[in-house]
Symmetry: C2
């Protein structure tokens, strides 16, 4: 996915976060961001090699856009967008948001909100008619957050380990 990135996001107190497409050198910082989370930290590994391989696959897939946000040269937020073509809804494109993270010490300062509003705009600009995400049922704060931004918890999210 190509983009009009970089983009400036405005958090509260005039905090400016610069969004850009992730590059391979971001992988260590991205892994720290993914692990900086009570629910998902146990899923991540200290070995960076599988992440570097995964980054190359994301970066080479035109349906994916992995985004990072920088504040004073540190990675402070990330999310991944996926555009999924489908037949349903008269052949609508579906935009999916995965792996949303804001550095734990910077939460509740408007960064996530600005990033999610940017994500909806970015998916709309790519022709998506609907966007979707799933969030763990234990993340009650995240549910309130998405609802406040106009997202509707209309679906059950089922997973299975393979």
């Amino acid at each position: 996915m190509t983009d009009a990135l970089p983009t400036e996001l405005m958090g509260r107190d005039g905090m400016q976060v610069r969004l850009r497409r992730a590059v391979a050198a971001d992988v260590p910082g991205l892994v720290r961001l993914l692990a900086d989370d009570a629910i998902s930290s146990g899923r991540e590994s200290d070995d960076l090699a599988p992440y570097q391989a995964a980054f190359a696959r994301i970066d080479g897939d035109p349906g994916q856009l992995l985004v990072v946000g920088e504040l004073e040269e540190a990675l402070v937020c990330t999310l991944q967008l996926t555009v999924i073509p489908g037949l349903a809804r008269a052949g609508a494109l579906r935009g999916q948001v995965e792996a949303v993270r804001v550095r734990s010490d910077l939460r509740s300062q408007g960064i996530g909100e600005a990033m999610m509003r940017w994500a909806a705009d970015a998916l709309r600009a790519r022709g998506c008619a609907v966007a979707q995400l799933t969030t763990d049922k234990r993340r009650l704060g995240a549910h309130r957050f998405y609802a406040r931004l106009g997202w509707v918890a209309s679906h059950e999210g089922f997973k299975i380990q393979l």
Copy 2:
């Protein structure tokens, strides 16, 4: 996505459904299958042109596999698989299942179960560590169905119209 399709699925009473990759000529039958549903019928259109364009986009995307099932030369079921590369879970591939349908007069006869077991196997064979889907909160029968097959309703599924 390339495949070892076609595959025979066995429903109850020895009913044999042949799964294969969808082709452009399946689009009219696929649209009928998508509309053969109480919740999503109102979303579909009589004009086939946007579906044909969407089919071409799905078919040309190596991350997608749109599958149809035939019984005595009629389309009786469908689903779409998407492989999403990501960094989380040590760079795991995520398999997504969308647009699951079984023709209304053939439900509860084991076709959907066989198709969903095939889907999990197909995603595992492509290296996916986890599979996911969302289903409307009103589809209580579907929730029981997926739970019976080992899927876990661990997540809230949020959507937003763009």
